[in-house]
């Protein structure tokens, strides 16, 4: 066999091996979670409360907790990130904007566990004091820290989106007398909305998948959260806490259901982003 063929085989096997890894993860989740389906527990697990003492292994409170905290975090982070991106790209592109861009770049390197650690000792007592009741370990605290975590990546994504708007549009608008802010509102935002929404979806995926912040800051109660000041548990935190259970028990199997749900969620997010971005490229 010639060198070329060997090289080709090596490269393609590596690629298919990597692809296999992705599928293997899914496979393990599905196969190990299968007994739930087989034993007819699926509906109960998806809709019931978590109470092993009463033989109820529902993960509905955890699903709700995950979505609440992620949604809240995103609600806090999105306007913040857009504002910063606007500053970097439009308002102060040469001065403070560059500095902010570098700061944001560095921020993406801060480890999650450090955010969680600081959250416990700085944010939790603060939230407890501000609201006067509750332990400070709640969905709000987790959402606040999560917002600080996902904001840098979102900002970078938004900046990239805004910068990819065709220059000709901007020059044309400038020639007609538009100010930078007018160019932003009328040209950049409408043209970049695909990348912006992709950034939102990716950040949401990241927020849903984060373990440490929710584990350390949200309280981990098993009840369905009814307000932002309630203690809540997310699916990743649930997996981390329950990993101890007996291997054949429904509790343990339930973990693979959690894993599957998370996997499918991020799968959908990735697909959505891909579709948005590709359909954007196909436009004339």
């Amino acid at each position: 066999m010639s060198r070329e063929t060997i090289a080709h085989t090596v490269f393609s096997s590596a690629a298919w091996l990597s692809a296999a890894c992705t599928l293997m993860v899914f496979g393990f989740m599905a196969v190990l979670g299968y007994p739930i389906l087989r034993d007819g527990l699926l509906w109960d697990m998806l809709s019931g409360p978590w109470s092993p003492m009463h033989q109820s292994y529902g993960i509905r409170p955890m699903i709700a907790g995950t979505l609440w905290i992620a949604f809240f975090g995103l609600m806090l982070a999105a306007p913040l990130s857009l504002g910063c991106a606007v500053l970097i790209q439009v308002v102060a592109p040469r001065g403070f904007g560059r500095l902010l861009h570098n700061v944001v770049h560095w921020m993406t390197g801060i480890p999650t566990v450090v955010y969680g650690f600081v959250g416990i000792f700085l944010l939790v007592p603060l939230v407890r004091q501000i609201f006067g009741h509750g332990s400070g370990l709640c969905a709000l605290t987790a959402a606040l820290m999560l917002a600080v975590l996902v904001a840098p990546t979102m900002i970078l994504f938004f900046v990239q989106g805004l910068s990819q708007v065709p220059r000709s549009y901007l020059t044309a608008a400038a020639a007609l007398g538009a100010t930078p802010i007018q160019r932003l509102i009328y040209i950049m935002l409408p043209n970049a909305w695909r990348t912006l929404s992709a950034g939102l979806v990716l950040a949401f995926g990241r927020a849903v998948g984060d373990t440490m912040i929710a584990l350390m800051l949200a309280g981990n109660a098993v009840a369905l959260p009814h307000s932002v000041l309630d203690s809540a548990r997310t699916l990743p935190a649930h997996i981390a806490l329950v990993i101890a259970a007996d291997f054949d028990s429904p509790e343990f199997r339930g973990l693979f259901l959690c894993g599957l749900i998370l996997y499918l969620f991020t799968l959908t997010a990735s697909l959505a982003v891909r579709c948005t971005v590709t359909s954007g490229r196909q436009r004339p």
């Binding site: 060198r3 070329e4 090289a7 080709h8 090596v10 490269f11 393609s12 590596a14 690629a15 091996l17 990597s18 692809a19 890894c21 992705t22 293997m24 993860v25 393990f28 190990l32 306007p79 913040l80 990130s81 504002g83 910063c84 606007v86 500053l87 308002v91 902010l100 700061v103 560095w106 921020m107 390197g109 801060i110 480890p111 999650t112 566990v113 450090v114 650690f117 600081v118 416990i120 000792f121 700085l122 600080v148 904001a151 802010i181 990716l202 849903v208 998948g209 373990t211 440490m212 350390m216 990743p236 997996i239 981390a240 894993g259 998370l262 991020t266 799968l267 990735s270 982003v273 891909r274």
Partner: protein
């Protein structure tokens, strides 16, 4: 209606306040850490009551110090990147150079999915893999350094694939036609022309992967990181790691001394990760410069001036 001047000023004000909020948030986080933890940064933090030289040469075990956790993190990073690098690089080359059409988009989609998988799911996978191997293959396998490294390799594979692919694809088209026009094979072109020029961006991906391995907690929490294990003596043993130590200490410090250890550990981890980031930029420039001079030098030697 065109936005009047007030509305434009409002937008500008909003942008600035967002920036201020963000910067204050991150300064609060880092500042808090530095203020509370700066006092903890000393040799005792790392080596406990053991002499530094004895600890580093592994002559005596360290108790109450971060040394085992630092070594654990180091080994983890080395092993994971060693596993993920060849596969990731080769996959990136395949995607950029060989794959076409349907296969290319399919693989691209699969790797996007891989990149999105939450770390806890990968940790769960690693844990169940360990149990599976333990029950089917050998009773000696259990969640350990090797399993953790394997799982972390899964985690960082997408970074390496993406950066290799992006680096190769962003090279000017002329690099793909010049050498082949002179008779080089595809492999020779990749090896001698494309890779050296793409190296600086690939190096960026590698550094990102290293950073990710160093900071990840969810994966190692489920696959072998424990509270106390000393310096790992082999890949099939339990190990300590810095991020896990921080998590563990944050919820159960026994006294203020241990808490300040936690702060110290957080600062050390922060410094490591931020340094890697800075290293990224430096490495890119260094790698580019060296490779260019090497390539030019070799050509000069071979073919004369």
């Amino acid at each position: 209606m065109t936005p009047g001047r007030t509305q434009q000023y409002l937008v500008i004000a909003w942008a600035w306040s967002c920036a201020v909020i963000l910067v204050s948030a991150v300064s609060a986080v880092i500042g808090f850490l530095l203020v509370r933890g700066a006092g903890a940064l000393n040799l005792e933090l790392i080596f406990g009551h053991t002499a530094a030289l004895d600890a580093v040469l592994l002559r005596r075990p360290v108790f109450g110090g971060l040394f085992p956790a630092i070594v654990g993190t180091l080994l983890l990073v080395l092993l994971s990147v060693a596993i993920a690098l060849p596969v990731g690089l080769a996959t990136g080359i395949y995607l950029a150079e060989y794959a076409q059409g349907r296969i290319r988009s399919l693989l691209g989609l699969i790797f996007d999915v891989l990149a999105g998988i939450p770390s806890i799911v990968i940790g769960l996978f690693g844990f169940s893999l360990a149990i599976f191997l333990h029950q089917r293959l050998s009773g000696r396998i259990y969640p350990c350094l090797l399993i953790s490294s394997l799982s972390l390799a899964f985690l960082v594979l997408p970074y390496l694939i993406r950066s290799t692919q992006a680096a190769l694809e962003s090279l000017p088209f002329k690099h793909r036609i010049t050498a082949p026009a002179l008779g080089a094979t595809r492999l020779q072109n990749i090896r001698h022309v494309l890779l050296p020029r793409a190296m600086q961006n690939i190096a960026g991906g590698i550094v990102l992967a290293i950073g990710r391995c160093a900071e990840d907690t969810a994966v190692i929490m489920l696959t072998g990181a424990v509270a106390t294990a000393g310096v790992p003596k082999g890949v099939l043993g339990h190990f300590e790691a810095l991020p896990f130590f921080i998590y563990y200490i944050s919820s159960q410090y026994a006294d203020p001394a241990e808490l300040s250890q936690g702060y110290g550990a957080a600062i050390i981890l922060l410094i490591i990760c931020l340094m890697l980031f800075g290293l990224n930029k430096v490495a890119q420039k260094v790698v580019a410069a060296r490779l260019y001079t090497n390539v030019a030098k070799k050509r000069w030697q071979k073919n004369g001036p």
